[in-house]
Structures are given as C-alpha cells and as structure tokens.
C-alpha cells in the first residue's frame, strides 16, 4: 500500500510528496476545534502513504467539518448538506483507483444524510468515512443534533433536548455488509492517526466515528472524558488499531476485543459507562460495490459500437 500504488511504474520520475503537498491553506475552524487535529492526521497519512494529490479526493457535505476538503490540496468535493456519501460513492463507482476521504458531521451523516449512511455502509465501497461527532450543529450555530445528549441546551432546545442520542457506531454495526467500524477522539492525535491509518488500509468502507470537540458550542461534552482517561475504554487486539503505546498509555481502562466478533462489537459499542476507542469491527471479505460498478472500464469505443449495432439488430424489422 505505502508508496506501492500499482500505477507507479507509469511515472517517469518518482515524486516525493511532503506534508505541504496536502495542505490547502489555513484552516478556518475556531481555535481549539477538534477538526484541526483530524486534518493533520489525514495529511500525515497521505504523506506517509505517498498518495498522489491528484488521485486523492476528499468529499464532504455541509457543516463546519465539511469544510475539510478546502484545507486539503487534493481534489475535493464540498457538496450539499447530508449528501457526501452518494457523491463519494458515485466517484468511486467508476474511478476505483481514486483514494477517497469523506468528512461528514453528526448532522450531515446521522440526520439529513441518514438514508445514505445506511446504504453507503451496505455498498461498502473502499473509502474512509470520518464522522466528526461534536454532538451539535456547529455551522448553523448550536442546534441539537441526533447525537446530542438529552438535556443539551441548544438554540432549538433552550430548555434541554429530550431524546436519547443515536449511537452511530452501534447503528453502523447493525447494517448489513458493514466491514469496518472504529471510534476515536480528536484530542488524542496518536490514536486518531493510528485509527485513520487502519481505516485507510482497510479495503472497504471504513467508518470512523471521531468524538470531536467544539469549544464554541459544546465545550463541556467531552471535558470529563478528556480530564479522566479512565472514562475511556481502549480496545486492544493484534488485529485492532496499533497506536503508539506512548500515546495511549494514559488509558488504564483496556480490553482485548477481537474485531472479527461482531456480537461483542455491538455489545461494546452499546456501553454507556465508558467510551470505547479503537477498532470495533473489521471484516476484509465483504463484497464491495465497486467490484461490480467499475466493470467495463476497458470496453473500447469500437466494442461499444459493435454491441450497440447488435442491439439495434434486435429491434430491426
């Protein structure tokens, strides 16, 4: 994978890419916003994997987090609110050689984009989907999101919201053909990097829920977890996310979790006493939609003309 893209041989001169080759200008998120760190991690992974910027596409919907493509120096598609996934799938469908990063928010993915979320998991196309979950609508200035905790005081629920939050990892784990689900927190750069790297390396749709701080509107939601690492549950396993131990040593609360065990994955994902981070589930053998959708790219125009004539014969009288 690293530096070994199959089409390298086509290049006359090998190019070496530095971090700068992936940096698309100053990110305009608020100071302290968790999005900054995730961006840095993705840029590092691109650099480490020596991804060609022109063969890398970042796709997003609308939201603070969906500004992501603007800060990458790759191709980018900053589309409509909630619609990152259909666009990303469409790109991948006929251009499977492109590397795709999807940035989506908890509103973008789990609210207005929920139908696409369900179905993109099922299509299982090879891409990394980063759910920036700050438990709030950031860009539109502080409304309740489907992952907001009950009692959250927002501009639409000034007296506190009342529904239990969606659990994006758990729901994703219960959609057929799911192939990769992980969870991480923006404030641990080591773990973010390792998790997204594993996601990138997985062939299939890698769904990574990133608990993301929004100091502007939800400064408190992750405060406790940040202060007290024992509220986190580090998932460890030889098949799991291999983060630099220096970066995860603060997590005293750990468990061995085999990411091929989906029942265990669902049970862990549904725990409310701790925040599990690491790889919940991976299955490298699920069908990927692009295996079907990308067929036929090699049919030549001459062959097309021939096939079409054959069709016309069928209708000829």
């Amino acid at each position: 994978m690293f530096g070994l893209k199959t089409d390298w041989s086509l290049e006359v001169l090998p190019r070496y890419f530095t971090l700068e080759d992936y940096e698309g200008g100053m990110a305009r998120w608020c100071p302290g916003c968790g999005d900054h760190g995730v961006l840095a991690a993705v840029q590092r992974i691109c650099r480490d994997a020596q991804l060609k910027p022109e063969s890398t596409v970042s796709v997003s919907g609308i939201g603070c987090s969906s500004r992501f493509p603007h800060y990458m120096k790759t191709y980018g598609f900053h589309g409509l609110h909630g619609r990152a996934l259909p666009v990303a799938c469409g790109i991948k469908s006929r251009r499977p050689e492109l590397t795709i990063w999807v940035a989506t928010g908890d509103g973008d993915c789990c609210s207005i984009g929920a139908a696409h979320w369900v179905h993109a998991i099922r299509y299982n196309m090879d891409m990394v989907v980063m759910l920036f979950d700050n438990n709030v609508y950031g860009l539109t200035k502080n409304q309740t999101s489907p992952t907001s905790r009950p009692g959250s005081k927002t501009n639409t629920h000034p007296r506190g919201s009342f529904l239990p939050p969606l659990n994006p990892a758990l729901t994703t784990l219960s959609i057929s053909n799911v192939s990769f689900v992980a969870q991480t927190v923006d404030w641990n750069p080591v773990h973010v990097y390792a998790t997204l790297k594993a996601a990138y390396e997985h062939k299939g749709l890698s769904f990574v829920r990133i608990l993301q701080r929004c100091p502007q509107y939800t400064p408190k939601v992750f405060e406790e977890a940040q202060r007290d690492p024992s509220l986190m549950l580090l998932l460890e396993h030889e098949k799991g996310v291999q983060a630099d131990p220096a970066g995860t040593k603060i997590y005293t609360n750990r468990t061995q979790h085999d990411p091929s065990d989906i029942n265990a994955a669902r049970q862990i994902a549904s725990r409310e006493d701790v925040i599990p981070i690491g790889l919940l589930f991976r299955d490298a053998d699920r069908p990927r939609y692009e295996e079907f959708s990308s067929l036929g790219a090699d049919v030549t125009i001459e062959e097309k003309v021939q096939a079409l004539e054959k069709e016309l014969d069928r209708f000829a009288i």
Binding site: H70, Y75, F77, H78, G90, R94, E303, K304, A307, I317
Partner: protein, 640 residues
C-alpha cells in the same frame, strides 16, 4: 358496413375494402396476452411496410380484478399507408375478451359510433347469473351507444386447439385480425415462433394452430375484410418504444453510468438497459432514493465519467436541490424526465406535459440549465446523444423531457447509423495546464474547461457555495455577480448556435399552432387536415425550451393568432369569471408570452391520455371560428 346486431355470426362475402389506415384495439383482463398479440400484429404491419403506432393500455393495479372497468389491459395499433405518428382518433375494430373492460375504453373516448366490437360471448352463458346480467346489459348499452357488436364464441372456438383458451386466445385473435386486414400469415407465424422460442416446439405448434384457426374462424364468420396498402421502403428500420430509444441513446452516447431509482413510467428504460448496458461497459446504479441517484451520478461526472439519471415527476422534485448544485458547480449531467400526470403521485402511468416549469424553474436561486423535449420516439434516441454532448461542452446539467406517451408508444423509424463520435471520449488524464484555473471562464461565452481527478496539477475543490474562478469560496458582491453572469452567458452562447424552428405549413397565415413534446404527430396531423380543408394554419414544434429556439417573435408576427396546444392544465383563456390577468395558462404559452411578449393563446387539458388528431382539429376549428375565419356552425360540426 352491416351491423350484426342480433347475430353472433356474420355471413356476407366480398372483396377487401381498401382504406388508408386503420385503428385496432385488443382489450382484455390483464394476463390474457392482448399486448403480445397486438405487438405481433404491429410488427407484421411494420414489416409489410405500413406505418404503425402502438399504444399500451395499462390498468392501474398490478393484477386488477377480472372483468372490471379499471382493469382494461391491452393495446391499440394504428397503422396506415403512410408513416403513423400518433395513436389517432377512435378505433375502427376492437377485439374484447370481456364486456366490462370496454367501459374503461369508452370513458377514454376510444370509440365512435360505428366502431366494430368483436366480443367474446361466453359470458352470456356464464354460470354466475350476475355475470350473465352484466353481459346482457352491457351489450345492449353498447349498441345503444352506436357500437356495432358482434358476439363471438372465441373461447369455444379455441377449445379445438387448446384446453386453456385463456392462454391461447390471444394468438387466435391475432389470426383473426391478420385475416381481416389481409396480413401476411407467414410473417405472423414468424412472430409466433419468436415469441415462444424459449417455450419449445410443442407450444409453438399449438400457437401456430391457434393463429391459423383464428384466420379460418374470421374467414367463416366475419365479412370484414380490409386492405391498408403498404409502401415498403428500402430504408433500414427499427421498432422501439420511447424508453427503449432512450436506453439505446444512452448507449449510443457512450454513457458510463445510469443512476436511478425506480419510478413509473421511467423505469422501463432501465429495465431495458439492465439487460445490455454492461455489454457496452456501462453500469446501472439503483440508488436508495432519487436524491442519492443524482448525487451518485454527479459524483461520477465530477470524476470525469459520463452519467445520467432517469426519473419522472416526483423523482425530479427530489432532485431539485442537487440540480441546483450541478448548475452552481457546473457539473455535466443528463437528467431524463419521463413525464407523467401530476401533481404529487398524480397519474403514475399516464401522460402529461406538466413538468416544463419544474424543469425550467424548480431550483431556488438563479439556476440556468439546458431543457430539451423529445417530440418523437426517434428523438428520444438522438436527443440523449445531443444532451450528453451539450452537458459536457457547456459544463451544465441538461434536462431532457419525454413523457409516458413516448415511453410506451412503439413505432418504426430509420435505424440510426451509429457514429463513434457520438460516444464520450475517454477521460483526460494529461497534466492540467499550469496557471489555468478550474473555472477559467471565457468572458464572452462563460465556457471553461474542467479538471478531472487524476489530472496532475488540476486539484481544486468543487463547492456549492458562491465561488471565484479558482473555485474559492467568496462572499463578496462582485464575485457572486460574476459567477451568476458566467453561468448565464453559457446559455446565450448556446442560444446563438440554435436554428429557428421549422414551420410546418406556410410561413404565414391565420393561425400558428405551437407545440412541444410528444404531441408533434397529433398536432401536425390535425394541422394537415385543416390545411386540406383550405385553412391558413401552420404549426411549429419546439425542441429547445432553455435556451429557447430563436426567431419566435418574428415567426409569431406573421400569423394573426398564435396558440399552444399542450397536455397540461390551464384555466380557460378568459379566466374564471372573466379575470384574464389571473388566468393560469398552459405552461409553454405562459413561457412564450414572457419571452416574446406576443399574445400567445392556448388550449390544454389533462386527460392523462394522448391527444387525438380529431380533437385537436376541433380545437383549431373553434379558434378559427372565434377569429371569424370559419363560421361557428362549421366549427361545431367539425369539433363534434
């Protein structure tokens, strides 16, 4: 013709009468194979060199109850010595498998006084008294309506050849009709063989026997014998319906991807493609909904692949936001809208031309795009090719309007001579020229070349926010105005390449009829008739709605009156209670008034079925009468 009132069998011999054309219907409960028989009949006509147009008669339910009014399932075949472009007026001869289904057709105004009904008579002796009564009452009623009913023992006659006449009767009827219309029985036999190829020789033989049996039965029992002289051409022809033509057009344009969500009456285009598209390397994506369908297509297009999405009204509504994005970010895309009756779920299987405004205006903000409408089944093929080219050349979404009439109608047309340059070129992966921005708008035409992922140095971020030519988000007043202007200039550039519409008839006169979409054949036929009657009436038919074909005001100025004829809703031109200003006009008329400032009159209805040439003829005569060109009585007589 003699009426066979009280006799199930008609004895009278004579030579075939020569007619220029005929309209035949076969109607049955669904599942009785009327459509198969009719299609074979039509193919034989076409092969013999007749012009043909067939229309499916489709019930609303999947399996409507037997013998119900709403259950009419079948086919109409209009064929003639010349090319046939529409379903015509009332039927000449109808074969009906039961009497109730005829009511559906009567409500659709499909019959005239004198239409001959060849009616299955087994219901007269049905075990169920209620059925016997219904049958008797209906037959009486039909005769009172002036229909010529022949009650025929079709079921019984079929028993000679099969134990299950419900399954075999259709081929028997095909034989009958071949005899009546003097069609070549060998050609018909070939159709039978082709139809049952997969079912094996035994089935083929049985059906051939039914075919011949039907011919013999007609020879013995019916006096009707017509000849519609054919005019065979040397030209290679194909016969397709409009959705198949769209599917063929998708392939002929070298499209990479069709992204869709099932919706009547558009889906059958994909059904057709599903079987063959992959032979051309294409892929069909059935998305989770229409929003995802267009989003997926836009993704593929962004990545340099040619894509289209095919839908109908409710689906078009859901695509509204994404179409706006495609306009804003200048993503090439073909959107085929096979119009059906609206609003809302409306009339899913029926025809209407009600989506013109939605195509032109639905997306909030200024969202110019190309809007075209196919007028014939052949154009359903060719316009997809044009649409794809325009989409890419002008970096724009293109909406191609067709409708349920084209989608399910079938007719022969010149076999397209496939050209390689119809097909999309492979995507460009050469390095992007340095210094060129992703929207390097030509200041005159607004045109620009787009970078494709994979092109080194072309990296940019497509955005639906207002942006500069660098594709940088920009909120300043100037940037937004420039962006809007560049996107608009493209359509002025395209407009300047269009030709004025051809005038059917004289260049000037009393009345100009303007149409668009599938009504072409009907309108032209009606205009032909009034012209033959000596009136100074012409017609034009628009294919490009946005931008509009040029020269209209000038053409309009040469006629005393201009009117559109459309299949969508309008208030009476004088408004309800005489309030002209607030009258809600037919969509093309409203649009042409704004564009040309001419007093464009209109007539439109929403029957959910195609217009009949006679109906249009009546409308024209009425307008001529109102203008004082014809006297009122003449018009009334014609309109009758």
């Amino acid at each position: 013709m003699e009426s066979g009132r009280n006799s199930a069998v008609v004895h009278e011999q004579g030579a075939a009468r020569q007619v220029r054309e005929a309209i035949v219907e076969i109607v049955s409960d669904s599942g009785e194979g009327a459509q198969k028989a009719g299609q074979s009949f039509a193919t034989v006509c076409a092969k013999m060199g007749n012009g043909v147009w067939t229309v499916e008669i489709i019930p609303a339910e999947i399996k409507p109850p037997a013998r119900s009014r709403a259950g009419a399932s079948g086919i109409r075949i209009r064929f003639g010595s010349k090319a046939v472009t529409n379903m015509g007026d009332q039927a000449d001869v109808v074969v009906a498998f039961n009497e109730q289904v005829l009511y559906g057709r009567i409500m659709a105004d499909a019959f005239r006084e004198g239409t001959v009904i060849l009616l299955e008579n087994r219901w007269a002796k049905d075990a169920d008294e209620q059925i016997r009564d219904m049958y008797a009452t209906a037959v009486e009623d039909f005769r009172a309506r002036g229909l010529i009913v022949h009650e025929l023992p079709l079921h019984e006659a079929c028993l000679k050849y099969t134990t299950d006449p419900r399954l075999g009767k259709n081929m028997f009827v095909l034989g009958m009709l071949c005899h009546i219309y003097q069609l070549n029985l060998d050609l018909a036999a070939n159709e039978v063989r082709a139809a049952f190829k997969k079912k094996g020789d035994k089935v083929i033989e049985q059906n051939l026997a039914l075919l011949r049996g039907g011919g013999e039965f007609a020879a013995e029992n019916l006096t009707y014998r017509f000849n519609v002289p054919a005019m065979p051409t040397r030209q290679d022809l194909v016969v397709t319906n409009g959705n198949q033509a769209v599917g063929l057009g998708v392939m002929a344009s070298g499209m990479d991807l069709v992204s869709m969500y099932p919706i009547t009456p558009a889906t059958s285009a994909t059904h057709y493609l599903a079987g063959v598209f992959q032979n051309l390397g294409g892929f069909i994506h059935q998305a989770e909904d229409e929003i995802a369908a267009i989003g997926f297509a836009i993704g593929a297009s962004y990545a340099g692949k040619t894509a289209c999405t095919i839908t109908s009204g409710p689906g078009l509504a859901l695509k509204t936001e994404f179409i706006g994005l495609a306009v804003m970010a200048e993503v090439p895309l073909v959107i085929v809208d096979v119009q059906r009756g609206g609003p809302a779920t409306g009339l899913p299987t029926k025809i209407e031309q009600g989506d013109l405004f939605a195509a032109l205006y639905a997306s909030p903000g200024d969202a110019p795009k190309v809007v075209m409408a196919a007028a014939t089944i052949e154009e359903c093929f060719h316009m997809v090719i044009t649409a794809r080219k325009l989409a890419e050349s002008f970096r724009t979404p293109v909406i191609l309007l067709t409708d349920a009439n084209l989608a399910t109608g079938q007719t022969p047309y010149a076999r397209p001579r496939v050209r390689e340059d119809w097909m999309a070129a492979p995507i460009d992966q050469s390095p992007w020229p340095e210094g060129v921005t992703p929207y390097e708008w030509d200041p005159e035409t607004g045109l620009s070349r787009r970078p494709i992922p994979g092109q080194r140095g072309g990296q940019y971020v497509l955005t639906g926010l207002a942006h500069t030519k660098q594709s940088h988000v920009a909120y300043d007043p100037r940037a937004n105005q420039v962006g809007c202007e560049m996107r608009s200039r493209k359509f002025a550039a395209l407009a300047s390449t269009l030709l004025p519409p051809k005038i059917h008839g004289d260049d000037q006169g009393d009345l100009l009829v303007v149409g668009w979409g599938s009504t072409l054949g009907t309108i032209d036929e009606a205009v032909e008739r009034v012209r033959e009657e000596g009136y100074r009436v012409s017609s034009i038919h628009l294919r490009f709605l946005s931008p509009l074909e040029p020269g209209l005001a000038e053409i309009f100025g040469r006629f005393k009156r201009v009117m559109t004829i459309e299949l969508n809703y309008s208030d009476p031109p004088s408004g309800f209670g005489g309030d002209v200003q607030s009258a809600r006009r037919a969509q093309l008329a409203q649009y042409l008034r704004a564009q040309t400032l001419c007093d464009v009159d209109y007539w439109s209805i929403t029957p959910g079925q195609p217009l009949q040439p006679g109906q249009v003829h009546g409308v024209i005569m009425e307008r001529l009468a109102a203008m004082g060109v014809v006297d009122q009585r003449a018009a009334a007589a014609h309109a009758g």
